[in-house]
Amino acid sequence: MKTVLIADDASFMRQMIRDIIEPEGYEVVGEASDGVEVVEKFRELHPDLVMMDIVMPKRSGIDAVKAIKAEDPTAAVVMCSALGQETLVMEAIQAGAKDFIVKPFKPDAVITTLAKTIEKGE
């Protein structure tokens, strides 16, 4: 079973991602509510994939991607963005994120993106 770490400052969004991916066979091994916590939990849990919001307190999603990639250049990170954040998404991809999904989430798109990202990393 593939393991996932979810990072978003809104528990609403973390719960929504969990409800989408767990029935599809992914195991959520941890949650983080800010950009510092996600790096700490990545280091601790070594998940197969990180799903992370771009806008977070303490440390932005882009800075957190850079920190995670510095820890593990093979890390698979998918950014969660919103419409109108194209520039930030490009920055995140340049920082090492593998892909992105756009809010509001469409369950099929989330699952397809996760599967593709994990497949690409194997």
């Binding site: 400052d9 809104a10 528990s11 609403f12 969004m13 719960q15 929504m16 409800d19 989408i20 029935p23 599809e24 806008v55 977070m56 307190p57 919103a82 109108g84 809010k103 509001p104 989430f105 469409k106 369950p107 099929d108 798109a109 989330v110 699952i111």
Partner: protein, 149 residues
């Protein structure tokens, strides 16, 4: 209640659960936003407070969009855009800007209360949205606050 997220894909989600989560988190976010606006009223260059208002608007937008609460999504999106400009400028407009931010907070609070009481988001205040759009459209000016509206 809007049909929301359920049915958008293969997974069915519990809209009642998510509406309750929205009400809880949006109420907390609006309280944080209120505290940050009071700080900005005293110090328009308070970068941390500007960031808090931006993030709270962003978060409310994401939740509301997931539940297809279009009016809440639109108002929070406009507020987020304005705050993004203020983030770039490093300060908010100390007069009309602050007043507009408090009016936006009031508008969001009324919308959230409408969802709590009636299960649906009230209609958008078009006048407020126009003011936010006009304020956000003013080009940034090398660190100067956006022009007054």
């Amino acid at each position: 209640m809007a049909s929301g997220f359920a049915g958008a894909g293969t997974t069915k989600l519990d809209l009642e659960k998510y509406t309750a989560l929205f009400l809880e988190e949006a109420t907390e976010h609006l309280a944080e936003m209120s505290t940050a606006l009071l700080a900005l009223e005293k110090e328009p260059g308070d970068g941390e407070a500007i960031d808090v208002v931006f993030r709270m608007a962003h978060s409310i937008k994401g939740m509301a969009a997931s539940l297809e609460m279009d009016s809440v999504t639109e108002l929070s999106h406009r507020l987020e855009d304005l705050m993004d400009g203020y983030r770039a400028a490093g300060r908010v407009d100390a007069t009309e800007g602050i007043a507009l931010l408090f009016r936006s907070l009031d508008g969001l609070e009324r919308m959230v209360e409408g969802v709590r009481e009636n299960g649906v988001a009230p209609a958008l205040d078009d006048g407020l949205v126009a003011l936010l759009g006009a304020a956000a459209a003013v080009p940034e000016n090398e660190g100067e606050p956006p022009k007054k509206i």
